[in-house]
């Protein structure tokens, strides 16, 4: 990716932010909620406690940032995977619109659901 001319610093910043944030937070959250709890390795926290923590305004703000930047991280990487991996250079504009557009749409849905 670095070999590519990086005139799209804006998208790259969103990609980088999402990459860093998700690298830090996703494995633990994914492991606890989707594996450790369903498999009975740890006890699920009560609904009341989960709601109290996750619905707190600051948590919501953070969650929206994590969700949105994660989408933009995906958009950037997926775009170049299609572009380089599948050699779809002739569809460059369409792929970019679909990927970044998808990330924008996902962020709007997240903002709507979270508030």
């Amino acid at each position: 990716m670095s070999a590519k001319k990086s005139n799209d610093a804006f998208w790259w910043t969103l990609f980088g932010g999402g990459g860093a944030l998700s690298a830090m937070f996703v494995p633990a959250l994914l492991f606890l909620t989707t594996l450790a709890t369903p498999l009975g390795w740890v006890e699920a926290p009560s609904y009341a406690n989960v709601a109290a923590v996750l619905l707190h305004p600051l948590t919501r703000l953070f969650a929206l940032g994590l969700i949105s930047l994660s989408f933009f991280h995906w958009a950037h990487r997926f775009r170049f995977t299609l572009y380089d991996g599948l050699q779809l250079k002739h569809l460059n504009a369409l792929i970019a619109v679909l990927c970044y557009g998808g990330a924008i749409a996902g962020s709007l849905v997240a903002a709507y659901v979270l508030w």
């Binding site: 860093a20 690298a23 494995p27 606890l32 989707t34 740890v42 923590v53 994660s70 990487r77």
Partner: protein, 138 residues
């Protein structure tokens, strides 16, 4: 490829070999590269799960219990094992690359790569520990 062209009637065409679609299966490093890029699908999947969790949470205890019930389905367990594997691969490759993306200088001294990567790993460990503690205690 910057070309300084004046007026030329017949600009030569660069010779380019056609690259097959699956050029990247020939070497392990290429496969690793494509796999690393595809870990972003798992990250997007996580983002969607979070939206679903928030929606369920706001609908009430029943909806939340139903969502958690879905996660016990064997197919979901398989999907989530794959997603976790991809997320871990993303984290590790990300932190290993972090010194390349972030060059820190203190005066004339350049902070060594291993300290930057190490700092990232330490942060990861700390955040994961805090999340785990909060989850188990709460």
């Amino acid at each position: 490829m910057e070309t300084k062209t004046g007026y030329t009637l017949h600009h030569p065409k660069w010779h380019r070999e056609d690259k097959p679609i699956f050029w990247w299966v020939k070497r392990w490093v290429y496969i690793g590269f494509i796999f690393r890029e595809l870990t972003s699908v798992a990250i997007a999947y996580f983002a969607i799960l979070m939206i679903l969790a928030y929606r369920a949470l706001q609908s009430g205890p029943e909806a939340y219990a139903e969502l958690m019930g879905c996660l016990s389905h064997p197919a979901m367990i398989v999907i989530n094992v794959l997603a976790l594997g991809a997320a871990l691969y993303h984290s590790i490759t990300w932190f290993n690359l972090s010194p390349k993306a972030m060059v820190v200088r203190l005066g004339n001294w350049r902070v060594p790569d291993i300290m930057i990567a190490g700092g990232n790993y330490a942060g990861w460990l700390f955040i994961s520990a805090v999340i785990t503690a909060a989850y188990i205690l709460g």
